[in-house]
């Protein structure tokens, strides 16, 4: 039985440590905020210039000057600080953000990630994804194990244009978790969803990884 989106987010949330500063991408990564473990204090960063993202505002309290990087209305917290986009990415690029959780179209066995464009389709742009994968200390990808066509997404080499080269530290899919201790090591299969066997994972993965 594969993990739900919420279970994937909860698994990613287990990587959070007390005092971490974290950037969450759009989609499943956003759900990570709902699963922050008890006793762990994390501060969420939004790359459009904010530390200390609060929950969505109450109806009627939306503020057009207060949005996240997904352009959704949000609220502030007592510890919130605002800054410019230049200062925000100085923080990201300088390695001051501890962890980011992102979605991906493909991850390669060498840690490459592709999540910004599909040749032949309209290019919308990479936004801050390239900066995040290049600068944040730990990169966790949360994605479905297979594409809608059933193709593996954790593969020997990315076929799509890259977002970053050799940057991913951990992959959480709906059936398994892969991790590596550093960027010179291969990924290791460390967890599987209930009822999923190592053989199931192997059958649905083309990337090389260790057990």
């Amino acid at each position: 039985m594969s993990w739900t989106r919420d279970e994937m987010a909860a698994r990613a949330a287990r990587e959070l440590q007390d005092g971490f500063y974290v950037n969450l991408g759009i989609g499943i990564p956003t759900l990570v905020a709902n699963h922050i473990p008890e006793g762990v204090e994390v501060t969420l960063q939004s790359e459009n210039g904010m530390l200390g993202i609060g929950p969505f505002p109450f109806e009627g309290e939306e503020d057009a000057d207060l949005i996240n990087a997904g352009k959704q209305t949000i609220s502030e917290l007592p510890n919130t600080a605002y800054f410019s986009s230049a200062d925000s990415f100085a923080m990201i690029r300088g390695g001051h953000i501890d962890l980011t959780v992102l979605g991906a179209m493909e991850v390669a066995e060498n840690g490459d990630i592709a999540n910004w464009m599909i040749p032949g389709k309209m290019i919308k742009g990479m936004g801050g994804a390239m900066d995040l994968v290049a600068g944040v200390k730990k990169i966790i990808v949360v994605m479905e194990h297979s594409s809608k066509n059933g193709d593996p997404k954790f593969i020997p080499a990315c076929t799509l244009p890259l977002t970053g080269k050799n940057v991913v530290d951990m992959i959480i899919t709906d059936i398994a978790v892969f991790q590596r201790p550093d960027h010179d090591s291969p990924f290791k299969l460390i967890e599987m969803a209930p009822g999923i066997t190592a053989e199931d994972v192997k059958a649905r993965t083309t990337a090389h990884y260790i057990l």
């Binding site: 939004s46 790359e47 459009n48 210039g49 904010m50 929950p55 969505f56 505002p57 109450f58 109806e59 309290e61 939306e62 503020d63 057009a64 000057d65 207060l66 949005i67 996240n68 997904g70 352009k71 959704q72 209305t73 949000i74 502030e76 605002y82 800054f83 410019s84 986009s85 230049a86 925000s88 990415f89 100085a90 990201i92 690029r93 490459d112 309209m122 290019i123 919308k124 742009g125 990479m126 936004g127 801050g128 994804a129 390239m130 900066d131 290049a134 600068g135 244009p161 890259l162 977002t163 970053g164 080269k165 050799n166």
Partner: protein, 236 residues
Amino acid sequence: MKKLYPDAAAALEGLLFDGMHVCAGGFGLCGIPERLIDAIRDAGTKDLTIASNNAGIDGEGLGKLLRTRQVKKMIASYVGENKEFERQYLAGELEVEFCPQGTLAERCRAGGAGIPGFYTKTGVGTQVAEGKEVKNFDGQDYILERGIFADLAIVKAWKADESGNLIFRKTARNFNQPMATAAKICVAEVEEVVPVGSLDPDGIHLPGVYVKRMIIGAPYDKKIEFRTVRQKEVAA
């Protein structure tokens, strides 16, 4: 030296020319210089190269200048949600340089700081690195990115004092601050101008040296792209 002009057209007088480069502040529709965009549209200035994180949406923000075909080239990080942009781009009518968001912010900050080039890890090994110098520092590859310095910067702030010191509000600061520094002349639109001495000198986000002209653009009907709310919990 009076910096306050009666309206956007007056504030831009003598500054616009075909083929010019413009840096425009804002993120999505948050903190965009609406009045100044309208005035550039009305002036009909053509063949613009615009550096801006986004390209507005259809009929809002820079989308207005796309609709009137005044834009030759966009330097942006994300241009989703804009059908006219998509049409012109796919038809080859619009040139686009995609630039990672942080690299774009830093390129403008660098241009404004007299730095013609800097090295960054962002984009190494990707399409973004194509044609760019790669240099290894301490065992790690970096690519050379160029500073951006435009003819004109247009930004939106919350408050200004009469000397042009600006403060922004919440996440509407975003690209407005670096963009304001990255041009020969910066024109700002603000919600309110207060007398000098009204702002905390420790709290100025952009010192007046950068702001050559300004207008009061209020009242603003600020647009929200994605309205997300939570429900108030009602006592059972």
